[in-house]
C-alpha cells in the first residue's frame, strides 16, 4: 500500500505579474499529496483555489517554481519537451469543456489517432486501436468518420476520455470532466470513469468543485483553499467528518437535494457562520 505512483512534495507555482512592475502571483503555496496506482484522488475547491493549477503542474503545463513532483521515483517537475513527450504515455488529461478540448476541424478518427502517430503506430494498427477505444467508451464504431460538432456534450467527453486512454496511461488528470454536463449524462460519464478504472487500473486525479461527485468517485480527498491544501485524507473521513473550518463551510454551503435535509443544513451553516464570526 505504500507504493506511490505520483508524489507532490511542497510544490509552488508562481506566475509572473503583468508588465514590468506587475506583482507575481503565487497560485500554489507549497502543496503536498500523493497518488497510488489505481487510486482516485479527489481535489475539491472553489474557483481560484489552485486546483486546476495543480493538475496543470502535473501535466507540465504550469511552471513549478518550488518543491518537486515525482512520478515513479523520477522528478518530473522540470522536464524539457522531449522528456515530457516520453511521459505522454504515462500521464494523460481530460479537460472540463468538451466543446473546446476537441479541435472542431478534425474528425474523431484524426483526434484519436493523434497520440498514436507520435508513438509511430502504423496506420492499420492505429485504425484498429481507434475502434477499440470507441468501443471502450461506448460510442458506435462509425463515430470516427464524424466531426466533434455532431456529438452532444456527454459524447464529446467520451471522445476526450478515449483520447486520454489511447496510450494506456497510468494516471489521468481529470479537470472538472463532468461539470459541463447534465445531471443524467453526468451520472453515466462517472460510471464510465469507474468502469475504466476497474478494467485498466488507471489512477485519477479528479478535480471538481462538486463535493457529491468527488465523494462518489474518490478513495482519498484533498480540499484546496487559496493555493493550499487545508484538509487531506480518506474520502469518507473528509466528506463525512470535515475538521477544517473552511471544509465545513464548503460542505454546508452545498444545498442538499431534499427540502427537509436542506433546511437543517441551512441552519447548521448559519450556526457555523455565527461561530466563525464571533
Amino acid at each position: 500500500m505504500s507504493e506511490r505512483l505520483l508524489d507532490v512534495d511542497n510544490v509552488e507555482v508562481e506566475y509572473h505579474g503583468h508588465g514590468l512592475r506587475g506583482k507575481p502571483f503565487k497560485a500554489l503555496k507549497g502543496v503536498s499529496l500523493d497518488i497510488r496506482p489505481g487510486e482516485t484522488v479527489g481535489l475539491v475547491g472553489e474557483s481560484g483555489s489552485g486546483k486546476t493549477t495543480l493538475g496543470r503542474a502535473m501535466l507540465g503545463l504550469a511552471p513549478v517554481t518550488g518543491g518537486a513532483i515525482t512520478y515513479n521515483g523520477r522528478d518530473i517537475s522540470h522536464l524539457n519537451r522531449a522528456q515530457r513527450r516520453e511521459l505522454a504515455s504515462d500521464i494523460q488529461v481530460v479537460f472540463q469543456d468538451p466543446y473546446t478540448s476537441l479541435n472542431p476541424a478534425l474528425t474523431i478518427q484524426q483526434i484519436l489517432t493523434e497520440p498514436l502517430t507520435v508513438r509511430k503506430v502504423g496506420k492499420a494498427e492505429a485504425a484498429r486501436r481507434v475502434r477499440e477505444l470507441l468501443d471502450k467508451v461506448h460510442l458506435p464504431p462509425d463515430a470516427g468518420q464524424r466531426l466533434p460538432r455532431e456529438f452532444s456534450g456527454g459524447q464529446r467527453q467520451r471522445i476526450a476520455i478515449a483520447r486520454a486512454l489511447a496510450l494506456s496511461p497510468r494516471l489521468i488528470v481529470c479537470d472538472e470532466p463532468v461539470s459541463a454536463l447534465d445531471l443524467s449524462t453526468q451520472a453515466r460519464v462517472l460510471t464510465l470513469f469507474r468502469e475504466i478504472q476497474d478494467s485498466t487500473g488507471v489512477a485519477y486525479l479528479f478535480i471538481s468543485h462538486d463535493l457529491a461527485v468527488v465523494r462518489h468517485l474518490s478513495h482519498r480527498v484533498a480540499v484546496m483553499y487559496r493555493g493550499e491544501i487545508v484538509e487531506w485524507g480518506d474520502g469518507d473521513q473528509v466528506t463525512a467528518h470535515p475538521q477544517h473550518p473552511y471544509t465545513q463551510k464548503l460542505f454546508l454551503a452545498a444545498p442538499v437535494p431534499d427540502p427537509v435535509a436542506q433546511e437543517k443544513r441551512r441552519a447548521d451553516r448559519r450556526r457555523l457562520q455565527a461561530a466563525l464570526a464571533s
Binding site: 484524426q110 493523434e114 461527485v213 437535494p257 441551512r266
Partner: protein, 601 residues
C-alpha cells in the same frame, strides 16, 4: 467486438478529408455571384497573360512613327499610343509581368509575415516583443517613400522593388496570424495535443495552420490588389523598367497626350482598375463564404405553418397549502413556443405548459439542457430570440394576457412589474458604464425619480444585497468587482423598481458554492421582504430544495410533473423525475479507501 465488422480500408485517408473541406469552400465560392464574377475575370486574365505573345495582333515593341495616336480601328483594335505601339498588344503583354510582380510581393509578405506571426504567437517571449516592434516600425514607414529610396539604391528593377514592397506589406500578415495564433494557443485541444506528446512542429501544422489558412488567403487576395496598384503607380512615375510595356507606363504615355487622345487613358486604367477590383471582391467573397459557414440562409417570410403540440397528462401532486396561498399573480395556460423554420414550418420547443404562481411563492422550473425551461421563462417576459413566438396558449399576469400585448406594452411591464436575474452576471452588465449608472437609469425611467433620489435608493439597495462598500461599488466598473458581487448588483437592480414577479434564470449556476449559498439566502430574504412571486429556472435540485415552494419538472418542452416541492422530493411519480433523482449523487455512499483487491485488477 462489434467494431471488428468494419473493414480496415473503410478508414478514410487524412489527406482526402482535408481536401473535401477545401473543396467545399471552393464550391461555395462558385455559388456566390461576386465570387464567380471576380474569379472568372482573374482566370481569363491569367490565360490572356500566358498566351499574350500568341494573341497579340502586333509586335508590342515595334514603334511606328507614322501611326501615332490612332483611333481604334480594324487594324488597331484599341488604337495606338504616342509612339505608334499597338495598345491592345501592349496591354496583353504587360499582364504577365504585372501578375508576377504582385505574386512576388504577396509571396514575400506572406512568408515573412506568417512565419514571424506563427513563431511569435506560439512561443511569445522576446521574439514576440522584437517582431511586434519591427511590425509597428514597418507600418509607420511611408511605403511609397521607402520604395522611391529603394529604387534609388537598387535601380529600376521591378522585381527587387516588389521584394522591398513585400517586406513593407508583411506586417499585415504578421498581425492577422499573430492574433489568430495567440487566440488558438490557449485552446484546450492544443493543451491536449501537448500532453499527448506532439512536437511543436506537429502542433503548429495540425492545429494552428488550419486556423490561420483562411484569413491568410483572404488577406493575400487583398494585398495582391494593393501591390498591382502600387506597381502601376511606380511605372506611371517612370520609376519602373522602361524597356518593357507596363500598364503604369502606358498610363504615363496616355497621360501626356490627354488633350489630343483622351481615349488612350481608358484602356490601361480599365485594366488596372478591373484587376484590383476583382481581387478585392474575391477577398470579400472568400470572407463572406467562410463566415457564413454553418449559418442557415435568409429566412423567408413565414407562411405560418401548422404548430404541432403534443399533449400528454401531467403528474400533479395535490397542494394542501394552495387555498391558504396569496393572490394568484401569473397563470400560464397551455403555452406553446415555436420557432419559424426557413422552409415555412414551425419547430415547437415548448408544448402545452401550464403553471401558476402566487404572490410570495417561489416556483422552481427544473430540467436538463434543451428541456424548454429557459424558453418558457423568456416567453413570459416577451423576450424570445428572433424567430421565436408564442404559438399557443395564454399568459395571464394580473388579469392581462401578456401573449397578446404589443412589444411596447411589454416594455412598460418589464422592469416595473416583471424583473429578471440572468445566469451570467458579468455579460449582463455593460462594461462601459459604472455600476451606479446602470442601477439608477431604470429607476429614473420607471419610477420617474430624480438623479439624487435614485442614487440614494441605489446605495441603500447595494447595502441591502450585502455589498460591503456600496459607495465604492456604485462608482466601480463591472470588471472591478467579482462574479458574486456582480450577481448581487443585478439582484439589486432587479428589485429596484419593486417588481411583482421576479424571473431568475439559473441565478447561481456561475457562482462558487459558498457564494451560491449567500445569494440563495439573499433571494429568500428579498422574496419575503418584497412579497414577490418568483419563477426560478434551474437544473440544480439542491437549489430547488433550498428555495422553492412548488416545482415543475420539464422534459422535452413539456412539464411532466408538478406540485409542492416537499411532496415531489418525497414521492417522485413520473418516470423521468425518478430517473433524475436516481442520477443525484448526494446520498450515494462515499467510495472509501483503496482496497488491496482494487489494486490488482
Amino acid at each position: 467486438m462489434t467494431a471488428a465488422t468494419l473493414p480496415p480500408d473503410a478508414v478514410p485517408d487524412v489527406q482526402t478529408l482535408e481536401q473535401t473541406a477545401h473543396a467545399s469552400l471552393f464550391r461555395r465560392l462558385l455559388k456566390n455571384p461576386t465570387g464567380v464574377a471576380s474569379l472568372a475575370f482573374l482566370v481569363i486574365l491569367v490565360v490572356l497573360g500566358i498566351f499574350a505573345t500568341v494573341l497579340a495582333p502586333h509586335d508590342p515593341n515595334v514603334a511606328n512613327a507614322t501611326n501615332i495616336l490612332q483611333k481604334p480601328s480594324g487594324t488597331y483594335l484599341l488604337g495606338t499610343d504616342g509612339s505608334g505601339h499597338d495598345v491592345l498588344s501592349r496591354l496583353l503583354v504587360a499582364i504577365q509581368p504585372t501578375l508576377e510582380a504582385a505574386a512576388l510581393a504577396v509571396g514575400v509578405a506572406a512568408v515573412l509575415g506568417i512565419t514571424a506571426g506563427l513563431i511569435s504567437g506560439y512561443y511569445g517571449k522576446w521574439f514576440e516583443a522584437a517582431s511586434s516592434w519591427t511590425a509597428s516600425l514597418l507600418m509607420a514607414l511611408p511605403g511609397i517613400v521607402v520604395l522611391l529610396a529603394a529604387r534609388a539604391v537598387i535601380g529600376p528593377s521591378m522585381l527587387w522593388t516588389m521584394v522591398v514592397f513585400g517586406i513593407i506589406l508583411s506586417p499585415a500578415f504578421y498581425r492577422v496570424v499573430h492574433t489568430e495564433v495567440s487566440g488558438v494557443k490557449h485552446e484546450l485541444y492544443v493543451d491536449a495535443a501537448r500532453v499527448s506528446g506532439l512536437s511543436d512542429a506537429r502542433i503548429i501544422s495540425r492545429h494552428i495552420l488550419t486556423v490561420v489558412r483562411a484569413p491568410a488567403i483572404i488577406l493575400a487576395a487583398g494585398v495582391a490588389g494593393i501591390a498591382i496598384a502600387i506597381e502601376a503607380g511606380l511605372d506611371f512615375l517612370g520609376l519602373g523598367d522602361l524597356s518593357r510595356p507596363t500598364w503604369g507606363g502606358m498610363l504615363n504615355d496616355a497621360f501626356s497626350h490627354i488633350f489630343t487622345a483622351p481615349l488612350g487613358l481608358l484602356w490601361p486604367s480599365l485594366a488596372i482598375a478591373l484587376t484590383c477590383i476583382s481581387l478585392t471582391l474575391l477577398a470579400n467573397a472568400l470572407r463572406d463564404e467562410l463566415e457564413r459557414s454553418g449559418t442557415p440562409g435568409r429566412r423567408r417570410r413565414r407562411a405560418a405553418g401548422p404548430v404541432s403540440i403534443r399533449r400528454e397528462p401531467v403528474v400533479t401532486h395535490d397542494d394542501p397549502a394552495a387555498a391558504a396561498a396569496g393572490e394568484e399573480l401569473l397563470h400560464v395556460t397551455d403555452l406553446a413556443v415555436g420557432y419559424d423554420q426557413p422552409d415555412g414550418s414551425v419547430k415547437t420547443v415548448v408544448h402545452d405548459v401550464s403553471l401558476s404562481i402566487h404572490r410570495g411563492e417561489v416556483h422552481g422550473l427544473i430540467g436538463e439542457s434543451g428541456s424548454g425551461k429557459t424558453q418558457t421563462a423568456f416567453a413570459i417576459m416577451g423576450l424570445l430570440p428572433s424567430g421565436g413566438r408564442v404559438a399557443g396558449g395564454s399568459i395571464i399576469f394580473e388579469g392581462t394576457d401578456l401573449a397578446a400585448l404589443s412589444g411596447r406594452q411589454m416594455t412598460g411591464l418589464r422592469g416595473a412589474k416583471i424583473a429578471y436575474i440572468p445566469q451570467e452576471p458579468m455579460s449582463n452588465l455593460d462594461p462601459t458604464f459604472t455600476i451606479g449608472s446602470q442601477i439608477t437609469e431604470p429607476m429614473r425611467v420607471i419610477l420617474k425619480i430624480g438623479r439624487a433620489e435614485a442614487r440614494e435608493r441605489a446605495l441603500k439597495l447595494l447595502a441591502r444585497v450585502g455589498i460591503p462598500d456600496p459607495e465604492r461599488t456604485f462608482n466601480a466598473y463591472p470588471h472591478q468587482v467579482s462574479g458574486g458581487m456582480a450577481q448581487r448588483v443585478l439582484i439589486a437592480g432587479a428589485v429596484s423598481c419593486n417588481p411583482d414577479l421576479l424571473i431568475a434564470d439559473e441565478p447561481t449556476t456561475a457562482l462558487d458554492v459558498t457564494v451560491q449559498a449567500e445569494v440563495l439566502d439573499l433571494l429568500r430574504d428579498l422574496e419575503a421582504e418584497y412579497h414577490m412571486a418568483v419563477l426560478l429556472v434551474t437544473h440544480n435540485f439542491g437549489v430547488v430544495a433550498d428555495l422553492c415552494d412548488t416545482v415543475s419538472v420539464m422534459q422535452n418542452g413539456r412539464i411532466v410533473e408538478t406540485g409542492p416541492a416537499r411532496s415531489i422530493f418525497a414521492d417522485p411519480r413520473h418516470p423521468y423525475t425518478r430517473s433524475l433523482f436516481a442520477a443525484i449523487l448526494e446520498d450515494s455512499e462515499p467510495r472509501g479507501p483503496l482496497t488491496p483487491r482494487e489494486l490488482q485488477p
